[in-house]
Subunit: 375 residues, 2 copies
């Protein structure tokens, strides 16, 4: 029996129901289908799942998804709409009739649909069965994600070479006579990836004081002697799987503080990678890095190491398991990032991020790109 059936049974329910767009990773995982507007997926106990889509998506869903497909019309939606003019009420009645009993839903199920469904059955909340299943990758998934990381390594090499080869004028970098800006480098990265079959967004190319804000995407011209944080997390357009990596470089001479931070971050990453294997908890690896930073003189608070050490990567760029104060036991087949960072308004930020597979005795690191501060 698969894990979703077990959760349905444990909840004394008849079916699992999700309502989400196809870029929702659980929906993509369950159906293999990608669609921008939200659709229903319903899986009855011991049965195949069924996608319920608008008429206009039916043929594509049959061609592209791995589950049974009904149009809303096939599922009787327009009949329900005649007696229940409110679309949420009509949808709930349709789902309740198909389920034939209590339903199990994910934590983020829309409240309005739950309230309408509660008129017909009990609505139980599942505690992440699909996310948990997703977090242990199959061989095929592992090879897809390894391939995503390879393309990400190549992108990093491409963009760091651009910074390395830029001209400098009064401390500002230029390329072909024009200022080398964050925006330009971001669009170069994203085009490079598009041409290889990957989408990307919110790519970070931040410089100088911006680097003290971990998710600042960056703005303005790249400066000599200042840290540049490059964080790339592309999504394979065909499969929906992600990779994720970060490097920090300085074109020229880093400040002594940035150089020391870089050494500490690099050592923290190595320490964490050496600890990672199945049965070790994400919490213990995160805490080991916190302790290491403290011993190295970097106490965490409003500044310092202000985020989690890492996260799972798959159909979502951030997913289970977590390498953080709440991180549970790692398992063989998890794919996780290791991304220590230090951030100070006064000096800027440094982050280094690798990604790889949790194995029984070691961490199989997918990221091969070199780690060099000065370029």
């Amino acid at each position: 029996m698969n894990s979703l059936d077990r959760s349905i049974e444990d909840a004394d329910a008849k079916a699992y129901v999700i309502f989400a767009p196809g870029d929702n990773p659980d929906m993509r995982y369950l159906t293999g289908f990608s669609v921008s507007d939200p659709v229903f997926f319903i899986k009855k106990l011991h049965m195949h799942g069924t996608l319920i889509v608008p008429q206009m998506e039916k043929d594509r869903a049959i061609a592209e998804s791995k589950c049974d497909v009904l149009s809303r019309g096939d599922a009787g939606y327009f009949g329900y709409l005649e007696t229940e003019p409110d679309p949420y009420a009509a949808q709930a009645r349709m789902i309740a009739d198909i389920a034939g009993g209590n339903v199990l839903v994910p934590r983020d199920f829309p409240l309005i649909l739950a309230r309408e469904l509660e008129k017909f059955c009990r609505v139980k909340i599942d505690r992440g069965t699909v996310e948990k299943t997703r977090s242990v990758k199959t061989k095929a998934e592992i090879e897809i994600i390894r391939g995503c990381q390879k393309a990400t390594d190549e992108t990093m090499d491409f963009i760091i070479s651009k910074i390395r080869n830029a001209e400098s004028e009064n401390g500002e970098l230029r390329c072909g006579g024009l200022p080398l800006t964050s925006g330009y480098l971001r669009s170069e990265i994203e085009c490079f990836l598009l041409k290889r079959g990957f989408s990307s967004k919110d790519t970070i190319v931040s410089c100088g004081p911006e680097t003290a804000m971990p998710h600042c995407t960056g703005d303005g011209v790249i400066l000599e002697n200042e840290p540049v944080v490059i964080d790339i997390f592309p999504c394979d357009l065909k499969t929906g799987y992600y990779a994720d990596m970060t490097r920090t470089v300085v074109r020229g001479e880093p400040s002594p503080e940035i150089e020391d931070m870089y050494s500490a971050v690099s050592a923290a990453k190595k320490l964490a990678k050496d600890m990672i294997r199945s049965k070790v908890s994400g919490k213990s690896v995160h805490n080991a890095v916190v302790n290491f930073f403290e011993e190295s003189g970097y106490k965490s608070g409003a500044e310092g190491f202000i985020h989690s050490l890492g996260h799972g990567v798959g159909l979502a760029v951030h997913e289970s398991p977590s390498l953080s104060p709440s991180g549970g036991e790692l398992e063989y087949g998890n794919i996780v990032t290791v991304e220590p960072g230090l951030y100070y308004k006064k000096y800027g930020g440094v982050r280094l991020e690798d990604m790889g597979l949790v194995e029984d005795t070691r961490f199989d690191c997918f990221t091969k790109y070199e780690e060099v501060l000065r370029i």
Copy 2:
């Protein structure tokens, strides 16, 4: 009093609460902040709204958002976690204490947070106050979206020129000696847009039988004498606003059926644009197109005109108002698409889509790109 305050008061609540990532259009509208992981926004009656973000996002939120900002630590989250180890329970307690009474939430509020909040207060569902407010654009928003459409027109011209100028070999188009594929054209479109400051995804360049599936993104080489549907909906990276347009072209000679479908779709678009103005209902415009198609011999069912006539465009590519069987009265300041289409497995599909502003006496069409079938 603004509309959100009125809705809070009408619901006998003390605060409006949303929990969503920054690419959620309501969140972006209320906060001006873009973030990939979900965050809380809470607006108490007659007060400014407050974003509650992880520590690592705090400085960026202060710099980039238009509301008050607290880190989760500032909001006492870690204290709540000590007595409520479940993060949802701790989040709910934090929100309940800040709200100080009943809360109003959007329809898609996560069920698990609602259940936890219900232990402390009543949780009322708002029926789209923010989406309704968003649907009436300000002057500044109108000019941003007009600019997005201009870039989209330029992109369409760029890509149709590529198809027009391609070589043909045994009915297959080629460019620089290589097959001209959907994937190549899609990446050319998306790079062209990136370099102008727009992201795009799921761009449609479908050809031949694929065009009968309205949202099929397309695969394989572009063929002569077959319909090519190009649907582009970029998002302005700076502001988050979208545009949306579609053209159908044939390189060479269309079949008589495609030619007739094109004439009908083009006439339907004109008819709809002539009807659109404030106080007209989206339903009446949609139905006028359905009737026109029927009179022209195109009856809708599993094939034919199988989607809505149009939708609002703003911080979401699909938003209120709707030009569909359930579409209500249009208002001055709505920005909507008009996109009739006809789809038959045997012949393929044709869709034409313009976008513009609903005014009191007319539709101000932003889309200027020509409408030509044969190229």
